[in-house]
């Protein structure tokens, strides 16, 4: 099969790429990377991702890594497949670009740290650092306040339609919603409605159950 995704089901970055493949309705082979066996640090895997991280991606002879580079490639290379995840109007796409950066530069920092403390650490039998949780929740709340304002003016973060700007949030949302951090989202009506909407998309449901 031309498209291959190398990753693990528990990795937010892998899920980000999976979400995009599902939205585009593309066939691909999923190759599980055994991280407990340190498969991601083998020379073979390092030739796919020199940073030794999942996911790694192939489309024919094109090899990529970094989940948000993979999603952007898919969105542009397969514009007519499945959901349109970008906007062709340059000015509208520039605004999508702003909110893609916001997820990458602001939401993910604090969201991922909270997911690590509240969701992953218990999974690995490690102890949650309550001070880190408090600190990151406070910072995430400031970001979510801006989201609340944005989403009261715009149905989705990038504009009227669901785009990569929203999709990139899905994996971290999935993990945070299984923890007490969900209350930060519930406390903000527009954020809450948006989070519920995007997490109920059939493609996302498929991506996390397949």
């Amino acid at each position: 099969m031309a498209i291959k995704l190398y990753g693990t089901a528990a990795s937010t970055a892998t899920l980000r790429a999976k979400a995009c493949l599902a939205e585009k309705g593309l066939d691909y082979e999923f190759v599980n990377v055994n991280m407990s066996n340190k498969e991601h640090k083998t020379p073979e895997f390092l030739s796919r991702n020199p940073f030794g991280q999942v996911p790694a991606f192939e489309d024919g002879d094109l090899k990529l890594f970094e989940s948000r580079a993979i999603t952007q490639y898919l969105a542009h290379a397969y514009p007519d497949n499945g959901t349109n995840l970008i906007i062709h109007d340059p000015k509208k796409m520039a605004i999508v670009g702003v909110w893609i950066e916001v997820e990458s530069q602001k939401f993910d920092q604090f969201g991922s740290k909270l997911a690590w403390e509240l969701a992953y650490k218990p999974m690995f039998g490690l102890t949650t650092d309550d001070a880190a949780v408090e600190e990151n929740e406070k910072k995430l709340e400031q970001v979510l306040d801006v989201y609340e304002s944005r989403l009261s003016e715009s149905k989705y973060l990038g504009g009227d339609c669901f785009t990569l700007a929203d999709l990139h949030h899905l994996p971290v949302l999935k993990f945070l919603f299984g923890t007490k951090a969900k209350r930060l989202f519930d406390a903000r009506p527009h954020v809450s409605a948006w989070a519920a909407d995007i997490q109920s998309r059939p493609a996302w449901v498929k991506a996390i159950t397949a």
Binding site: P50, E66, A69, H76, A94, V98, E101
Partner: protein, 214 residues
């Protein structure tokens, strides 16, 4: 239609946006934002410019953008035929450029900016450098630069054969760190060292950096 940048001299994010504008030979109005007067946290700034209260903010007619890497991307695409080409048009080459643009955003910047904060900025603000943090992040930088060294052995620039946003985005934090002891890590890797010298000496960047001495 007028181009405007609201920003601050010395702000890496502001300089990132300005670098792209100069590479494209674009005329624009630079409107200084007074960070020490907390202008960026005023209700008007938050409501009409950047709800996160940060610089830079970019305007092209009625289009308003924030986040420096969204600004550079828009400029690179909207003015594709002007000045230096900062993107690849071929979809596969573009995808590879995007990989390294992500590497800068996700890996290089968080590590190097942290070092810059501790070593350069904290003393400027009368705060004490945390040497433990410096040691920790210097240790993180080494394997990162090893990957860069390997990449730059195979490729003239990070994103491919030509200078693109994937390289440009590094300039502000790179400039800052090269004035510190961390420069030794770059000097120790010949391809990284050559690449860093090359991009830091580009006329468009020199123009931006010279704003610091004015």
């Amino acid at each position: 239609m007028a181009l405007k940048v609201h920003g601050t001299v010395g702000s890496p994010a502001t300089f990132r946006a300005l670098a792209a504008l100069h590479e494209k030979d674009l005329d624009f109005e630079f409107i200084p934002v007074n960070l020490s007067a907390k202008e960026h946290k005023s209700p008007q700034f938050l409501a009409h410019k950047n709800p996160f209260g940060q610089v830079p903010v970019f305007e092209h007619g009625d289009l308003k953008l924030f986040e420096s890497r969204a600004i550079t991307k828009y400029v690179a695409e909207a003015f594709a035929d002007k000045g230096t080409s900062l993107i690849h048009k071929d979809p596969k080459k573009s995808a590879i450029q995007t990989v390294w643009t992500e590497v800068e955003a996700q890996k290089f910047d968080p590590t190097v900016a942290k070092l810059g904060w501790e070593i350069v900025l904290k003393p400027k603000f009368g705060m004490t450098t945390d040497e433990a943090v410096v040691a920790e992040f210097e240790k993180k930088l080494e394997p990162l630069l090893d990957v860069y060294e390997k990449r730059l052995t195979e490729s003239k620039y990070l994103g491919g054969d030509s200078f693109t946003l994937a390289d440009l985005h590094h300039l502000p934090t790179l400039q800052g760190i090269m004035g510190t002891k961390v420069k030794s890590q770059f000097d120790a890797r010949p391809h990284v060292s050559a690449w860093a010298s090359d991009i830091l000496s580009r006329p468009a960047w020199v123009k931006v950096a010279s704003m610091l001495t004015k």
